[in-house]
Point group: C2
Chain length 287, copies 2
């Protein structure tokens, strides 16, 4: 469903207020988005939205907006001036399949499109809920969140951060968007601030688990399983919590985070079973 929503949004036909959608740029955006991603963040949006009575069509558009942000960040992070990756999910990265300028503009365009999707009347949510989603997403994605985390990550290769620095970096770089994914359903459903905070905390717990699992895989897996280069953290001289404390500590931490995440979902009973399964998937994934 997320795939279909993204495919529709990234159609060739310009919308009101647009002049034209240049073919090559659109193809690059589609390459960056419709590439077989896990769709973890959209899944979290849909499942958290279901807990708070949000209609699925509206939740799908919120999920699609968030995935546009996630995919833009991958397109830009893969650029030669950033992480310099040629491979993403087993496919050439956007700047390899197209060119650097097109990859920069495709990322910019996906980022911009996310806010178009949320502001649009087609996202059938109350005006205030749409504004709250836009503000929460922009803060999760911007210099105080994901983009700032990427800047800290690049700096970390030159100037090794301490453990608190690594935790902050990861909370920004990967944590903020996953936290938003889980909070989004509560915002869209105009849930109480207590529910909103609880879902955000759930998001933070699985965000931490996600990153820890990623670092653990970088430490212990191989490129074929991952569909991207591994061992890059060590090569780049980057410290992670998994490399600092070792794989056994990381596996124990992961089990603790899953328990904490499941505990946070206790008020929602069986409706939250898929979110509980997601917490386990995130911690235990092998790619």
């Amino acid at each position: 469903m997320v795939e279909a929503a993204l495919d529709t949004i990234l159609a060739a036909m310009p919308q009101a207020g647009e002049i034209a959608r240049p073919e090559r740029l659109l193809a690059a955006m589609r390459h960056g988005v419709l590439n077989g991603g896990k769709r973890l963040r959209p899944f979290l949006v849909l499942e958290s939205a279901a807990l708070f009575g949000v209609k699925q069509d509206a939740a799908l558009r919120v999920a699609a907006a968030l995935e546009c942000i996630h995919c833009y960040s991958l397109v830009h992070d893969d650029l030669p001036a950033m992480d310099d990756d040629d491979l993403r999910r087993g496919q050439p990265t956007v700047h390899k399949a197209f060119d650097e300028a097109t990859a920069i503009l495709a990322g910019d365009s996906l980022l911009t499109l996310a806010f178009d999707i949320l502001a649009s009347p087609e996202t059938e949510l109350p005006a205030q809920a749409r504004l709250d989603l836009i503000q929460a997403l922009s803060r999760a994605a911007g210099f105080g969140g994901m983009a700032g985390g990427q800047a800290l990550d690049l700096a970390a290769a030159r100037d090794l951060p301490d453990e608190a620095g690594i935790i902050r970096l990861q909370a920004m770089k990967t944590g903020a968007l996953i936290r938003f994914a889980c909070e989004a359903g509560a915002i869209a459903g105009k849930a109480s601030s207590a529910d909103r905070e609880r879902m955000a905390e759930f998001g933070s717990a699985i965000g931490l688990a996600f990153q820890l699992a990623d670092d653990l895989l970088d430490l212990t897996s191989d490129a074929q399983t991952m569909g991207k280069a591994t061992g890059k953290d060590a090569q780049a001289g980057k410290a992670t919590l998994a490399s600092l404390h070792g794989p056994d500590w990381a596996r124990r931490q992961l089990r603790g985070l899953v328990l904490q995440a499941e505990e946070l979902l206790s008020p929602y009973g069986e409706s939250a079973n898929l979110l509980r399964a997601a917490a386990r998937f995130v911690a235990e994934r092998s790619h």
Copy 2:
């Protein structure tokens, strides 16, 4: 006032929902924004907002959001993979003063911040007006507008467009944002759709004039006067309307566009005098 609003928004203190504002990234964003720009687009927002009874504080935030988008586009357009410019307004471009990765992230962060500003309750406009502004701005800035225009511009160096192609490219690359600047006041002031359309057409006229004046300056001026490299269009093999038809034709066209722009403002009487002056400034500017 715009400068002060941008300075406040780009303060070091993280806002609610942000984790931290990394120092170097923030410095790069400030370098890209607080650099003595003409502030043409903010000026157009403020003056068009005044025509429709929008409070100045709200109009200033809309103006600041738009300037963040404009400045992000300059930061990214200057990158080595795009126009490869070392100089902007007589200063080193962001990737020269910092580094490429930081420039990419600073641009991304300014783009993201623009939507935070518009969605925020601090922008004291009705919820629907804020949503309409966000959607209009995202469509003006995205792949169907400015970013798409930049993609067409890069392609134009390889594959020379015809006159219709040049007009479309320019309407997207520079026209869309100037059109939005003039329409924004009508959206913020919940003006009639006739007023909104009239102001958008005024914006299109001066957007055309702005680009034509720019191309004319590139054809006839020097780097010292402009504070940036000139003659780049010809060097890059890019055709412009000014280079196709010559400087005399361009000057005649500019006079026609100014008359058309002034005519569009006739319903607003003397309140629109500064906008009329802006139309003349845009057409007659020497840098």
